[in-house]
Amino acid sequence: MSDQYEIAGRSFTSRLIVGTGKYRDFEQTREAVEESGAEMVTVAVRRVNITDRDKENLLDTLDPARYTILPNTAGCYTAEDAVRTAKLAREAGVGNLVKLEVIGDEKTLMPDVPATLDAAAELVRDGFDVLPYVTDDPVACLRLQDMGCAAVMPLAAPIGSGLGIRNPYNIRIILEQSTVPVIVDAGVGTASDAARVMELGCAAVLMNTAIAGAEDPIRMARAMRLAIQAGRDAYCAGRIGMKLYATASSPITGLID
């Protein structure tokens, strides 16, 4: 049974996209990514340590021939810095995809929406396939879609908060209006949160802390993989409606006297 989705002309089977931050070491990163079944992984762009440069490189662990690498602009607070970071990432040679993040506030790590729109417009013009991290704001998502972003990535809750979907109604509105994949990015805490995202009909979920921060990240990676498959199946199967009163499961005729 094939159930693929596409982002910017690339097909994916796994609906779990994982971050690679916060792991103990590259070996744990590799194992968690493997167990998650993810085909796309996010990475950050940072300065090379030029005094201690013999350290192993992340992409020695995660082969770009096997995984689609999605560089992010994490840590950028202005459109200019985000665009600069995206351009550096592209020159480092993993393609045109970018997870655009322009952060507006240190404490909540909520996106700066006007700056995100500005940066997205410039990156789209420059030929990037832009996947913007954005507030769960239907209008912002509509603007990003209209300017040519390859997907929209509304947050479920603040980055690393583990609070789950705070506003499923907004996510539903975003899903109804979207002609590009909707990927919930950030805020997932546990497997049921991920299943719920899929039950709403989202194309995929992007998470990092929920797996990397779990006591057993490898086990949690497996839990997320299974939850996302279960949630997707439930969405495709079409759930029953919710009713206030009971409906008997056994025949109501043929009862003994």
Partner: protein
């Protein structure tokens, strides 16, 4: 001449190209990107670009992140 690489002031010989600089840092085979004075340099330009005195150079790579 003095340049700044990733925030560290560094002494380099005059006339060094970006290709030679990257090689001297042992980064030729790595997926790195170079920016000089906020201008992102494509790899094709590394050979023809000579580092100038007081250039601000950034050399970046991919690390774990969400």
């Amino acid at each position: 001449m003095k340049v700044t690489i990733n925030g560290e002031e560094t002494e380099l010989s005059n006339g060094i190209t970006v290709t030679a600089l990257v090689e001297s840092l042992g980064l030729t085979s790595k997926r790195v990107a170079v920016e000089i004075n906020r201008d992102v340099l494509s790899r094709e330009r590394w050979n023809e670009t000579t580092v100038q005195d007081s250039d601000q150079i950034e050399i970046v790579q991919f690390v774990g992140g969400g």
